[in-house]
Amino acid sequence: MSELSSLDNDEPLLVAEGLAKNYGRLPACRDVSFALYPGEALAIVGESGSGKSTLLQLLSAQLAPSAGRVSYRMRDGVLRDLAELGEAERRFLFRTDWGFVHQDPAQGLRMGVSAGANVGERLMAVGWNHYGRIRDTASTWLDRVEIDVGRIDDAPKTYSGGMRQRLQIARNLVTEPRLVFMDEPTGGLDVSVQARLLDLMRNLVSELGLAAIVVTHDLAVARLLSHRVMVMKGGRVIETGLTDQVLDDPREPYTQLLVSSILPP
């Protein structure tokens, strides 16, 4: 079973060492170090301004760190410093081996072209050229994310918010990435739509044995999706551990405040 073997894998997939980012004199992210293993889902939680989105950009090579480094185990098994990758390798990561789910689907989708093309585009970027196969695979993925296949030729601008977010997930997962970054994936959606999306993401992550790094300010999202959690405040990681442990037995004053601030339903 893929999930088992990937979770028992002893070699980290991504390693962050002493990561820092300053905007001018303002430190947005300070001294972050951790290792992420294949199949592991890590949540980064904290309020706006805590540095969690900056950290996600550093980890996904969209932003260069002021200090420290991020290494990633390429498919050949070698751990490589992201800052030293060549253009072809970076392209491989962005187009194939990684996914990035944005909070706003409009950032991760092409709103004017059809849903099928949105999914198929990632496949064409990795060399698929058989139209029928691309369309079949796109249909399978639409079905997998619970979008009516009859809507395959419609553009996402005609979709609801929840459908757009599910389409963005299909577009990201179609190339079978090993690592997916998610930035507030359920932000801006209705609660009922959130539950459906969370359940879907949770199943996909576990079925595909994906590693995931999820930035969220919603502790319920962290509880449902992640194995481990890092709590950030003022650009630092102030507490880290198993998700249920940190949420049920928080140690740091700030984590206790976060946990106790949740309104019971």
């Binding site: 079973m1 088992l4 359940d199 481990r228 442990q245 049920d248």
Partner: protein
């Protein structure tokens, strides 16, 4: 007999930072062991720390000092100092936990809630569902409810779903927090039977039960938690 669980001087204190840093000692000096095929029942009044001890053995509450040795894949791992990945591995293939309340994902059908621990351990979905169905039938959950998510069920039904989920897998250690609390006599008897079957399979169990009759039926040994009271 080899101990499956061995606690030595385990200690837990909550520090409530939002209440001016009040220290709330929960338990200290917790020492006992559980061997394969044995059911140890924790006794003591509410608030004595029974559930906290169970949560510490599951790695849900952190252990401040002392040792919680768990036999996992033939080696003893100290949960008090284990890495998160080791704790996850222990939960997947060594320790099961039947909590007092079911915490299920919205939208997931009852049969899948119960089958999930098997699927995670590599059992094929069809076989896992079949075994889940058998257990649900034994626990008197009518078949017409299996495809519904358990969130709409009564308290007793939810607890039986939770029990089915906890008992379905072949894990060598089971932690039971009030498994019979809101059940009627017939279903209590089923749980007693299930526990007896686990014993014959060599499963080590730690249980909390308030009902004297049930305790008498399942306990091989009783550990009195009041001796671990950490009253300041």
């Amino acid at each position: 007999m080899t101990a499956m669980i061995e606690l030595a001087d385990a200690e837990k204190t909550f520090t409530m930072h939002l209440q001016g840093g009040v220290e709330l000692p929960v338990v200290r000096g917790v020492s006992f062991h559980v061997v394969a095929g044995e059911c140890v029942v924790l006794s003591g009044p509410s608030g004595a720390g029974k559930s906290s001890i169970l949560k510490m053995i599951f790695g849900n509450y952190r252990c401040d000092s002392g040792r919680i040795g768990i036999r996992h894949h033939g080696k003893v791992i100290d949960l008090a100092t284990a890495e998160p990945r080791q704790v996850l591995s222990i939960r997947r293939s060594t320790i099961g936990y039947v909590s007092q309340f079911l915490r299920a994902v919205p939208r997931v059908a009852t049969i899948d809630v119960v089958a999930e621990p098997l699927i995670v351990n590599g059992v094929a979905r069809e076989e896992a569902r079949e075994r889940a169905g058998k257990l649900l039938r034994r626990l008197n959950i009518p078949e017409r409810l299996w495809t519904l998510p358990p969130s709409t069920f009564s308290g007793g039904e939810q607890q039986r779903v939770n029990i089915a989920r906890g008992f379905i897998s072949d894990l060598p250690i089971l932690l039971l927090d009030e498994p019979t609390a809101s059940l009627d006599a017939a279903n209590r008897a089923v749980v007693v039977e299930l526990i007896a079957e686990k014993k014959t399979k060599g499963v080590a169990m730690v249980a909390i039960v308030h009902d004297d009759e049930i305790r008498h039926l399942i306990a091989d040994r009783i550990v009195d938690v009041t001796s671990f009271a950490a009253a300041a």
